[in-house]
């Protein structure tokens, strides 16, 4: 894992003390809310419906056990005993007191964490494939590039006041688990014809009220030019991006208006004057950062562990969990474990302090001290020996974290919605809970197979509904909660936006509607055909007929 150097440490500690003074001045009345608001937002402190909310950055979703224990401590000491893992691999605390916020930031600084740039029109926390460094299909670890971008974009003076917020995601594998095509910039590590690694550069993706799949503006960027090329993109955006209308200020609107080819030409033109200047990292510095992400000392193990296979036969619950929550690892004899934060009827992404500590303990014992946060609001133990999987599963069962539903219909992404969020029009979480209960029978979920359901409580789309196989968007109709359904979205390498099915459903009827959609899919699919493949073959009409035909 990356460790702070002296510059990082001093900077974060100074920022904590600066914020402590700012809070004191606000509480004393020396400065008013108009002056204080941008200062607290720069430190990740929002004011939501019920209280202050602190959004803490988890760079590229990677945590150590020590960091996770600190997050648990903060949940217990300063909040209500829990935290909420978000779709940007961050954690949010919902019940923070203003006067204690500097103490929380000081505690975070002790474990090399902070909440800087988790708000505002700047480059936000850089996200990455949550299986980074572990996935069997990975070309290179995307966290190296993510860390380079993190360092470059932290307090970058030229890019601290962009037209709007700016999100970067990186994947190192052809199977995209980081949703790079729906970010302002998506980077995909690829090989050229000579076998050298570099980046495919995707720009102008995003969700929100104008969902757009990003456009590839460069098929191959040599790794050494990453920062100069990103700087060129940001310069074009900073100069030409709209600042007159908040709804048209994201880079996706600029790329759409100019056209991807014209935008790419402007970037290349800007880059031609930048790439030979001292913007890119020297090789030595790149190697220094790479060294932090060297693989852990994996043992030489056989590819298949007999003990693991035997336990799968002996214990059906374990077998079911292993089928859904365990993925192939790049090292023989190891596996990747996804810890579901979607228990039946639970709040997607929420974890108690005790659960965080349980995961920290399991990571310390069984996963080289590493934990990941996924944008799908789950946790990951990336490096578990197959022979330890049964013990890990038992530990998760004891912590109520062993729901065997990863990638299934109850593994729902849901934004906080109107239960917490100041921007939401409708609630998301209760709908997710009701769908989870409706499909509670785990055998039924396994029979249905992989199905991504995502819920947003407003048009800002923090619940990624546009890219769910089934997407639900909450809309307020004269004070009543309704949910518009989209079908056919996808967040992976075949990224697609869902199509609206028809008139929205009331809160009372939307779970029935989801069940009708699922039943229609199961009736119509051929063999092991996935939801989107069935939809592509039969179209929306069979679903509409079931849902809207007069009965």
């Amino acid at each position: 894992m990356y460790r702070y150097d002296e510059f990082d440490r001093t900077f974060v500690e100074e920022r904590v003390e600066q914020f402590r003074e700012q809070v004191a001045r606000r509480l004393s009345g020396e400065i008013g809310e108009d002056e204080f608001r941008p200062l607290r937002l720069m430190n990740g402190l929002y004011l939501q419906l019920h209280a202050y909310m602190l959004r803490v950055a988890v760079p590229y979703g990677t945590l150590s056990s020590q960091q996770m224990r600190k997050l648990a401590h903060i949940a217990r000491r300063y909040d209500q005993g829990y935290g909420h893992f978000t779709t940007r691999q961050n954690i949010q605390y919902n019940w923070v007191k203003l006067k204690e916020a500097p103490d929380i930031l000081a505690d975070l600084a002790e474990v090399e964490m902070h909440a800087i740039q988790t708000s505002g029109n700047c480059i936000r926390n850089v996200t990455a494939d949550h299986f980074a460094g572990a996935a069997a299909d990975e070309i290179e670890d995307p966290r190296i590039a993510a860390e380079v971008v993190r360092q470059w974009s932290s307090l970058h003076p030229e890019f601290s006041f962009l037209p709007r917020k700016f999100k970067v995601a990186v994947t190192g594998a052809p199977n995209d688990r980081a949703a790079v095509k729906v970010h302002d910039i998506g980077l995909q590590i690829v090989r050229d014809a000579r076998g050298r690694t570099g980046f495919k550069v995707i720009v102008g993706g995003g969700l929100g009220r104008t969902p757009i799949i990003g456009a590839t503006i460069r098929e191959f960027l040599p790794k050494r030019h990453l920062l100069s090329y990103l700087e060129a993109i940001l310069r074009v955006y900073n100069e030409l991006g709209r600042r007159d209308n908040i709804y048209k200020a994201r880079i996706k609107i600029l790329v759409k208006d100019l056209g991807a080819e014209a935008f790419a030409r402007k970037v290349e033109e800007e880059w031609s004057s930048l790439k030979d200047q001292a913007v890119d990292l020297p090789d030595g510095e790149l190697r220094r950062i790479e060294s932090y992400f060297a693989p852990p000392a994996f043992e030489n193990l056989p590819a298949v562990t007999s003990g693991f296979e035997a336990k799968r036969f002996e214990d059906r619950d374990f077998a079911r969990w292993a089928q859904r929550n365990v993925d192939a690892h790049r090292a023989p004899g190891y596996a990747i474990v996804t810890v579901s934060l979607k228990p039946e009827g639970g709040v997607p992404g929420d974890a108690t302090a005790e659960q965080m500590e349980a995961v920290a303990d399991l990571a310390a014992h069984y996963s080289f001290d590493e934990i990941r946060v996924s944008h799908e609001q789950n946790l990951v133990l990336p490096h578990v020996r197959q022979s330890d999987l049964y013990a890990v599963w038992q530990g998760l069962v004891a912590a109520d974290l062993a729901t065997a539903n990863v990638g299934l219909i109850s593994d729902i992404i849901a934004c906080p919605g109107l239960d917490y969020c100041n921007l939401a029009n409708t609630r998301s979480i209760p709908i997710a809970q009701r769908i989870g209960r409706r499909f509670a029978e785990i055998e039924r979920q396994h029979d249905i197979g992989g199905l991504k359901l995502k819920i947003s409580g407003c048009i800002n789309a923090c619940g990624h509904h546009h890219i769910g196989h089934i997407g639900l968007l909450g809309v307020d109709k004269k004070g009543e909660e309704f949910y518009q359904i989209t079908l056919g979205g996808s967040a992976d390498e075949n990224a697609a936006l869902g199509r609206i099915l028809g008139p929205a459903f009331s809160a009372e009827t939307v779970v029935d509607a989801v069940e009708t959609i699922v039943d229609t899919y199961v009736d119509q699919r051929r063999a092991a055909e996935g939801f989107n493949d069935t939809l592509a073959r039969i179209g929306l009409d069979p679903f509409k007929e079931k849902l809207y035909a007069p009965h």
Binding site: E33, H50, V347
Partner: protein, 103 residues
Amino acid sequence: MATQIVTANRLGDGLVIYLAQGGAWTDRVEDAEIARDEGDATALLARAEAPDQATRVVGPYLMAVIDEAGVPRPASNREIIRALGPSVRTDLGRQALTRASEG
């Protein structure tokens, strides 16, 4: 004009509060002072926005309520949830205090 009250968040901890009779702030929506016309509403909000309130509250605004025999009840889903707490965590927010006192 809808019947209105003034709400805000408390500066120190961000909790939801309402402007009550006599200029005090309360966490009980039923104790909020009701404005029944535009003039009363403007005056109520002006009191909440007075400079001396800046060290006590954040972001005061007028919200619509239903007047139930002089007792204000939040009219919108948003304000019902603000008044009670998250509907998915009835152990948190003001609703938890009510539950505790009933238990």
